[in-house]
Subunit: 146 residues, 2 copies
C-alpha cells in the first residue's frame, strides 16, 4: 500500500508529461548539443519514477525516516510543478528556479537515504544524475531563447 | 526540518495558484450559486497548507506512519497537478478526475491520521471539507461549460 501511494504520487508527476506535451514550441527552441532525442525522456522518467517510488517505500518503513519522507514529498511536488511551468506556461526562467530547488531537495534526500540505507541511496543516484542533465538543458534553453 | 520540507512541498502546490491564475477565462465561466468570492481561495489555501504541513510533521515522527506519509506525498502531488490542469490547460473534465482522486487520497489520509493521532486527524478535516466544496464546484463548472 505504501508503494502504491508513492506510485500514485509519481503518476501525478508523470501525468504532467501527457497533459503538457513539448509540442511545436519545444521543437522551435534553440537547444544545446547535449539535448537527448525526445523518445529518451518518457523512457528515462518511467524508469526513474519506478526507482523513486521503490526507494520511498523502502525509506517509509525505516525508523527515523521522517525527514527523508518530507523531502520525498517535496521532490514529487516540485517535480509535478516543473512540467506545467516549462511546457505549459513556457516560463523557462521560473522553471529553472523550480528545477534548481528540486535538485537541492533530491541531493538532501540522497544524503538522508545514504544515512538510513545505502542501497536506497544508490537507487536514487540515477534521479540526481538525470536532474543534473535536465537542469543544464533548462538553463541552456532559458539563456538561448530570450 | 521536517516541517520545512513539508512547507516547501506545499509551496510548490501554492505556486501553481500564482503561475496559473484564474484570469478572464474563469470570470467568463458559468459558475454555481455556491461559488465563493475569489478572495476566499488564497485565504483558505494558505490556512489549509499550514495545517496540512503541520499535520504531516506530526505524523512523520510517529512509528508506523509510512502509509500516512505516502498518502501525504500523493495528496501534495495531486494538489500541485490540479491547478495547471484546470486553470492552465482549461481541461475541466481531466481536473475533475484529478480532484476526485485527491479527495479519495485525503480521505484515506484522514483515516490513517485518526488511527495514529486523533488531533492530527482533526487538523486535516478542514482540508477534506474544502476539497468537497472544490470538487462540487469543479463538477458544476465542467457540466455547465461544455
Amino acid at each position: 500500500m505504501i508503494f502504491l501511494s508513492l506510485i500514485l504520487a509519481c503518476a501525478a508527476a508523470a501525468a504532467t508529461g501527457i497533459l503538457f506535451p513539448p509540442g511545436a514550441w519545444y521543437d522551435g527552441l534553440r537547444k544545446p548539443s547535449f539535448t537527448p532525442p525526445r523518445w529518451v525522456f518518457p523512457v528515462a522518467w518511467t524508469t526513474l519514477y519506478l526507482l523513486i517510488a521503490w526507494a520511498g517505500a523502502r525509506l517509509a518503513v525505516l525508523p527515523g525516516a521522517g525527514l527523508a519522507m518530507g523531502l520525498w514529498a517535496a521532490q514529487v511536488a516540485l517535480n509535478t510543478l516543473w512540467t506545467p511551468v516549462f511546457f505549459g506556461a513556457h516560463r523557462t526562467g521560473a522553471a529553472m528556479a523550480v528545477i534548481a530547488l528540486l535538485w537541492l531537495v533530491v541531493t538532501a534526500l540522497v544524503v538522508q537515504a545514504f544515512g538510513l540505507d545505502i542501497w536506497t541511496g544508490v537507487m536514487l543516484l540515477p534521479y540526481l544524475g538525470w536532474l543534473t542533465l535536465a537542469s543544464a538543458l533548462n538553463f541552456s534553453i532559458w539563456q538561448n531563447n530570450r
